[in-house]
């Protein structure tokens, strides 16, 4: 019986106007995203080639990962050029393109963004009238005038609806992968496809959550119009309001100085040390690199500790929303997330420790023997940890809770 419902659901939806529009929207946005981000990745790869340090430069830089096509995340920060200068200071190169200003206004349109926002919109909207419409058509009465068990019907509805939802997604993503990634010879290895599969799995779980929420709302609503309205309110709250207020709310708890203040302090330490050294009439035998390094370290550690505290609070707040959970999961999976950024920074600091006592030449390059900076992104095995499980279980909760509540609500559903 479930099979029959699934089949009916598929047939009914696939030839509907709603499905057509949804398919067009998904296909267009997913493929444009993949196309644009592939171009961007190639440009950044060229940029990396330009910046690659020659042997004597104390530069810390790493290559962009092809996974930034799917989840761009913090890859711009990670692929920044960090130069270690006199006294163990870490200077940053300019960002890749000068039009960052305009990017500031909008999110990066990577695959993750499209999934996070547009596909969740489609999923909840798609599900929001599945039950109310049957009621308005009168078919629900007709179905239950036959000896049909309600769980069979609701399960068939869930599975059939969900399959129709993911067909266009899977097709669009496959199309994008083949045309923009495989044919464009983006350096993907076989093992990377495992990562990609996990990525798609998360996406499917995430969308199942929104689909279930929409279906639940559809069960408890009286009319399609109200169900749609309520679904959209839920969507806006989960996708926009919660993730975007997390950082601001977290800042209320911890007083953190601005980046500008830190920069001023840092530059003052340097100027002061040199000034005092020069005006002490060369009594000290050596320029006080140690002091500059020490004080810089202290400021940085202080700041990073506070920043981490803010981030962990913000993470907790935003985790309520499945959209942020997906962001955390996918950016970490694609090695463009917070975890990767922190790991990279530890490597940079380690590198700095190695060269901090070197002198600089007239160009400001450090002089001395050191092994050049090298960095490899973290392996897939690092991805599976407690934090990841936590975010994933929240995604699962977003499926389970509406499904269970919906199941019981539907048992008591008034068919009249």
């Amino acid at each position: 019986m479930i099979k029959l419902f699934i089949k009916k659901e598929l047939l009914e939806n696939i030839f509907s106007f709603k499905f057509l529009i949804m398919f067009l929207l998904m296909f267009f946005s997913l493929n444009t995203a993949i196309f644009i981000m592939t171009k961007d990745y190639k440009a950044r790869l060229q940029n990396y080639d330009i910046l690659k340090p020659s042997k004597n430069e104390a530069f810390a830089i790493t290559y962009p990962t092809p996974f930034s096509i799917f989840a761009h995340g913090l890859d711009d920060n990670i692929c920044n050029l960090y130069q270690i200068t006199f006294g163990g200071q870490i200077e940053t190169g300019s960002q890749k393109q000068a039009i960052n200003k305009i990017y500031n206004f909008f999110n990066t349109p990577d695959l993750l963004y499209i999934i996070n926002i547009i596909l969740s919109f489609c999923a909840i909207l798609f599900a929001s009238d599945l039950i109310t419409r049957e009621k308005e058509q009168g078919t629900l009465k007709l179905i239950f005038s036959n000896g049909i068990k309600r769980p069979a019907f609701s399960l068939g509805k869930w599975i059939g609806g969900y399959i129709t939802l993911i067909i266009p997604i899977v097709l669009s993503v496959l199309f994008g992968l083949i045309f923009f990634i495989i044919l464009a010879k983006i350096p993907f290895q076989f093992s990377d496809f495992i990562r990609l599969l996990i990525f798609l799995f998360f996406v499917l779980v995430y969308l199942a959550g929104f689909f279930s929420l929409g279906l639940f709302i559809s069960i408890v609503s009286r009319s399609s119009a109200f169900s749609m309205f309520f679904s959209l309110i839920v969507w806006v709250s989960l996708v926009f309001i919660i993730p975007r207020s997390g950082n601001l709310v977290a800042k209320q708890f911890i007083n953190i100085p601005s980046v500008q203040t830190i920069e001023i302090k840092r530059s003052q330490i340097f100027i002061k040390a040199i000034f005092e050294y020069i005006n002490s009439h060369y009594e000290k035998s050596k320029i006080p690199q140690g002091i500059i390094n020490q004080q810089n370290d202290k400021i940085r550690e202080d700041y990073l500790n506070k920043l981490n505290a803010v981030e962990s609070i913000a993470r907790k707040i935003t985790s309520i929303s499945p959209a942020s959970d997906l962001t955390f999961l996918c950016t970490d999976l694609c090695n463009t997330g917070f975890r990767e950024e922190q790991r990279f920074k530890t490597f940079v600091i380690m590198f700095k420790e190695q060269v901090k006592n070197f002198d600089s030449d007239s160009d400001g390059n450090l002089v001395g023997d050191f092994t050049p900076f090298s960095y490899a992104r973290s392996p897939l095995s690092d991805f599976f940890n407690l934090a990841m499980m936590l975010h994933f279980s929240i995604l699962i909760m977003y499926i389970l809770i509406p499904v269970i509540l919906g199941y019981y609500a539907f048992l008591k559903f008034d068919v009249r």
């Binding site: 500031n104 909008f106 601005s258 500008q260």
Partner: protein
């Protein structure tokens, strides 16, 4: 007749259960956003004051000519109305090892987001049914059987519906503003209030675009269920897809070489290339003074050389001339290479400016982009506002430098031992003060966006009339 239709439309919307729901949602969201942003603003202002203070104390104590440029970094005070549009955050401009990455993944919420996402969505949900619903009820036929022209009907429907949304907008905005005014730490002057008024107007223009989209879809499809889907998907394309994609598309259309490449070139021109050129020029000088060079080479250190030169006045004069020529050679090398790098950078930055302009123009096809640019400029956190600050900052820096140079010249007269690393007292230097641009300036900067929004409205309205005239009743 007009009045009755208008009142009916307004009452229809206001007594809709959904009206209450979403007004509460928006009020609640806006209030939370404002309170959080207000706190954020206060922290930022404290931070700014702290920055000024550290800078002042530091300069008072350690000012010296060599690094005065690094010390006198002019700071920008946070804009008051950033509470309404986050725009470009000043922190984002600084690119350092210690960035707050959270903002990158989750940009902060503000009034602009509430309008562009929540209100525009509500506008669609309210308007998608204007004709199709009445057509399904049969009331449309009833209305048109009276002496009502179709154009009149569209006007009343549009005005009535928009009025109900405006009422809700005024309620939430007023509560937000009252909350800010109650907090004494921030004082809004007439300039700010006028800017707020203009932000409100912009919001209305923006929301009406989507109200019209909903109405057009309603007249186009004639059925409620298709109309809501069509309009929601149009909304998604215009709000969520196009504004995010367009800057990236533009940057693909007009490629600028990467800034890192440019920096590297400049570094080479001013470094290795300059050294090579300088050395070559020096070689020419060396060839002129073969004898002197031998003496210099034979002398073991500077003291011995000086002693040798003391004894021979002719040689001494020659040595002075030689030194001068060497210095000239380096100066020449510097000048040539600087001119070269200057050329490159003028070329590069003009390309960048062109790219930014193009990107902005392309993104303007999305009303969201127009709206965000306009509101952030109005609030003082946008691209134009930043340029305005940089202008003022530049002027001030020029005058400050003149002051420092005058002071150095004065000290040089009395102190023969002066060098660039010596402390100079500039406690009486001019203070930098920055006032946000006045409203008329801000308005003229945002005028083009306003016009684009209005053109959108006009075009959509014309389409609506055409579509509704074709609609079968």
């Amino acid at each position: 007749m007009f009045k009755e239709l208008l009142i009916k439309e307004l009452a229809d919307k206001i007594f809709d259960k959904r009206f209450l729901w979403f007004t509460i949602l928006c009020m609640f969201t806006l209030l939370i956003t404002e309170s959080v942003l207000l706190n954020d603003y206060k922290t930022e202002r404290n931070d700014y004051n702290l920055r000024l203070l550290t800078q002042k104390e530091f300069i008072d104590k350690y000012a010296h000519e060599n690094r005065i440029g690094d010390m006198l970094d002019i700071q920008r005070p946070p804009a008051k109305l950033r509470l309404f549009a986050a725009g470009i955050s000043s922190d984002m401009e600084v690119n350092t090892f210690t960035n707050n990455s959270f903002n990158v993944l989750f940009p902060p919420i503000d009034f602009v987001l509430i309008i562009t996402v929540i209100y525009s969505l509500i506008a669609i949900l309210f308007s998608h049914n204007s004709f199709s619903g009445e057509s399904e009820n049969g009331t449309l036929r009833l209305i048109l059987s009276n002496q009502v022209s179709r154009v009149k009907l569209t006007i009343t429907k549009f005005l009535g519906g928009m009025l109900s949304i405006i009422i809700s907008l005024i309620i939430s905005l007023a509560i937000g503003v009252i909350y800010i005014l109650m907090d004494n730490s921030i004082s809004l002057d007439s300039n700010d209030l006028m800017a707020l008024g203009l932000i409100f107007l912009l919001s209305v223009f923006y929301i009406s675009i989507f109200y019209l989209v909903g109405m057009i879809c309603s007249a186009f499809t004639g059925s409620s269920s298709s109309s809501v889907l069509l309009s929601l998907f149009i909304w998604a394309v215009f709000t969520l897809t196009i504004p995010n994609l367009s800057p990236w598309v533009a940057s693909q259309l007009y490629r600028v070489p990467s800034i890192n490449k440019f920096e590297k070139e400049v570094k080479i021109i001013k470094g290795i290339e300059r050294d090579d050129l300088g050395r070559n020029l020096c070689k020419e000088v060396y060839e002129k003074y073969p004898d002197l060079l031998n003496i210099i080479k034979s002398a073991k250190d500077e003291k011995l050389l000086l002693a040798k030169l003391e004894n021979n006045i002719g040689l001494k004069n020659e040595y002075v001339a030689f030194q001068k020529e060497i210095a000239n050679a380096w100066d020449k090398a510097n000048a040539i290479q600087s001119a070269k790098s200057e050329n490159i950078s003028v070329d590069f930055f003009s390309k960048v400016d062109r790219q930014i302009a193009l990107t902005k123009e392309i993104s303007c096809i999305s009303p969201v982009a127009d709206f965000s640019y306009a509101v952030s400029d109005m609030a003082g956190s946008g691209i134009h506002a930043e340029a305005y600050f940089k202008d003022i900052k530049k002027n001030f820096e020029v005058s400050l430098w003149q002051f420092v140079e005058a002071r150095v010249a004065k000290i040089k007269k009395t102190d023969v031992m002066y060098d660039v690393n010596k402390y100079i007292d500039i406690k009486d230097r001019p203070e930098f003060s920055f006032r946000e641009e006045n409203v008329s300036g801000r308005f003229s900067a945002t005028l083009s966006y306003c016009i684009v929004l209005l053109v959108f409205n006009a075009l959509l309205y014309l389409t609506l009339i055409r579509q509704f005239n074709r609609m079968k009743v």
